[in-house]
């Protein structure tokens, strides 16, 4: 660990694991991580134990950190059981050890001025938005939250949103709670009403694309945290790329783990994600 601002790697003890709706909240003892954390950072957890056949770390947005207290600093992630790696995490309990690397990635950029902000979360994508809301409020920004999910079980933090934001709206696709529909169905109204200068978003790619569009239509900035499959999470492997337009107007395939996961919504070529656009730098030639 030579760079004091960089990520730390540690064998973290599990303090607790709780279930809330469809999700698990895992609290890890990770001294030193809290101090380095900004909203939007993520953590990479090794899964399956020492002889595991699962080689790659799993990435999770950092939900909350505590700087010290009894346990010398903790870190919370919220996760959904998706496949075998998250299934293994869902069997961890107090005193188990989970190897963690954190904080990773580039966090949400905060506005220099006291401006209204809208924070949009899809499913567990709301996890990183609460510390973001805290930071924004500390800076004097007004914070509005829009959280959505397919169903109430998959909605994360609706109550917390009511506490940490000046206004909050909830949507579910099945109408089990809040407005029936998707976050993007209500977003335009919220952005318009609040006069938001920045829209922050975390959730599935299709939602981010839509959010970036709404923000742009209202002349607001957007900051979107993407989720691309990552092999290393630390910038060495080039698996996690997506096409992003640079300051010079050129499209490059950039690494979402170190140049993201948070990107300016107007810079990501959303409809080209999963491809290498023909005008991207270096795209001319086919490759081995």
């Amino acid at each position: 660990m030579t760079a004091s601002a960089g990520p730390l790697q540690q064998r973290a003890e599990v303090l607790s694991r709780k279930q809330i709706g469809a999700y698990h909240i895992l609290t890890l003892v990770a001294p030193g991580v809290a101090e380095r954390c900004r909203p939007g950072h993520f953590a990479a957890l090794a899964v399956g134990g020492p002889e595991s056949g699962m080689l790659l770390r799993r990435a999770f947005s950092i939900y909350r950190v505590r700087e010290s207290g009894t346990y010398g600093g903790t870190l919370d992630v919220v996760f959904d059981v998706h496949g075998p790696g998250t299934a293994w995490l869902a069997t961890r309990g107090p005193h188990d050890i989970v190897d963690v690397v954190a904080p990773l990635g580039r966090p949400f950029a905060l506005p220099a001025d006291q401006v209204p902000c809208v924070l949009v979360g899809g499913g567990y994508g709301s996890a990183p938005l609460f510390t973001l809301a805290d930071r924004l409020r500390e800076r004097g920004c007004t914070v509005h939250m829009v959280l959505g999910a397919s169903t109430e079980q998959r909605l994360f933090g609706a109550l917390e949103a009511r506490r940490s934001a000046h206004s909050s709206v909830v949507t579910t696709e099945d109408g089990s709670v809040g407005v029936r529909g998707r976050v993007t169905d209500v977003l335009s109204e919220v952005v318009g009403r609040s006069g938001a200068a920045v829209v922050y978003a975390c959730g599935p790619m299709a939602m981010l694309a839509a959010v970036a569009g709404v923000a742009e239509a209202h002349g607001a900035w957007s900051q979107c945290a993407v989720e691309e499959a990552m092999a290393c999470g630390i910038g060495v492997c080039m698996t996690c790329v997506l096409p992003v337009v640079g300051d010079d107007g050129r499209t490059r395939m950039v690494r979402s783990c170190v140049e993201g996961p948070v990107f300016r919504g107007d810079r990501v070529r959303w409809s080209d994600v999963g491809t290498v656009p023909a005008d991207a730098l270096g795209a001319a030639r086919g490759g081995p």
Binding site: L55, I234, C237, G274, R285, P288
Partner: protein, 328 residues
């Protein structure tokens, strides 16, 4: 039993002296900068940089990876900034950090390899050149250079010509051939100072959602501990056939014992690749573990064990009372 401190890890790799035999594998450590957050890259045996091509390359579409049992598939497609940017930014950074740089080069034609060799060969701060020949040869219906001893040898010959004498040239071999020793002999005859073994083996995974190949590139390279037995066999076979040719052992190395296994099978140094993704601190952890593995077996240097597994087992060694060898 020598204390781990007293074990001499220095190795001579085809004429270059390294402080220890553990390097990073090409494409698994970028150009070293990101790993510097986890350990001092100058403490490594060497950093092998991601294979660089002449021009900037955007690589393959995503998904570029799939996890597989004890391994992974990748189809990055050699995304990179091109040689100018590499020589201008990344190589000088390594030099400033006083890390030993082994530069990996890749081309689609003999001309590209030659041009890269000239550019890299004339740059300061290059300890060695590794030639990634697992690239499709545009002049030969896209057949991978490494799969044809004749084409593989031609690449090495043009590279060797343009790299200064004091800088060793390693040919990185693919395991996907019928006669690996034949390819090894051809590239050594063409001037390779040594061999890097192995590159990934070709694999495929199916996506449960679409029932189509997961990877944007359809097939991809399989790496990680899953392929370690295959890599060890390749090192064993080639060292058996050509005991004097320096070998860099690569494939699924996760622990100090794995590194030791490659050394006794015939490798002079090793590279750590995919396991870095699992454990970014792995390369220096492996250096420390290798030191311990040597010391508990009463060895005083890493160099002395190279190729040991090809000699008959001596009783003294077999009887060393290792932890894990039980006497009930």
């Amino acid at each position: 039993m020598p204390s781990p401190r007293d074990v001499d890890l220095r190795v001579d790799l085809a004429g270059i002296l390294l402080p220890n035999p553990v390097m990073t594998a090409s494409g698994c450590a970028a150009a070293g900068r990101e790993l510097d957050a986890f350990f001092d890259v100058a403490d490594l045996g060497a950093v092998v940089t991601k294979s660089i091509m002449l021009d900037p390359r955007a690589g393959r579409p995503t998904p570029r990876m799939a996890e597989t049992p004890s391994g992974m598939l990748n189809s990055i497609g050699l995304q990179g900034p091109g040689i100018d940017s590499f020589l201008g930014q990344e190589l000088p950074w390594l030099a400033r950090r006083r890390a030993r740089a082994v530069v990996s080069i890749a081309g689609s034609t003999l001309g590209e390899y030659a041009e890269l060799a000239r550019r890299v060969g004339s740059s300061p701060g290059v300890s060695a050149v590794e030639v990634n020949i697992s690239c499709p040869n545009v002049a030969n219906r896209g057949m991978v250079f490494a799969c044809d001893p004749y084409q593989a040898a031609k690449v090495i010959a043009v590279v060797r010509r343009d790299v200064p004498r004091g800088v060793p040239v390693f040919a990185k071999l693919s395991p996907d051939v019928t006669d690996l020793v034949g390819v090894a002999e051809a590239v050594v005859a063409a001037g390779a100072s040594g061999l890097s073994m192995i590159n990934t083996t070709l694999g495929l995974a199916i996506d449960p959602g679409t029932l189509r190949p997961v990877l944007g590139g359809v097939t991809g390279g399989l790496s990680g501990p899953a392929i370690r037995p295959l890599a060890l066999r390749c090192v064993w076979q080639v060292h058996q056939a050509m005991p004097d040719v320096p070998i860099i052992g690569i494939g699924g190395i996760k622990t100090g014992f794995d590194a030791l296994a490659f050394l006794v099978a015939g490798a002079s140094t090793v590279q750590v690749g995919t396991v870095i993704f699992h454990d970014p601190g792995a390369p220096m952890r492996i250096v420390a573990e290798l030191r311990d593995e040597l010391s508990r077996r009463a060895f005083t240097s890493a160099a002395q064990v190279v190729g040991l597994a090809h000699t008959p087992a001596t009783d003294s060694l077999a009887a060393t009372d290792l932890e894990g060898l039980r006497t009930p």
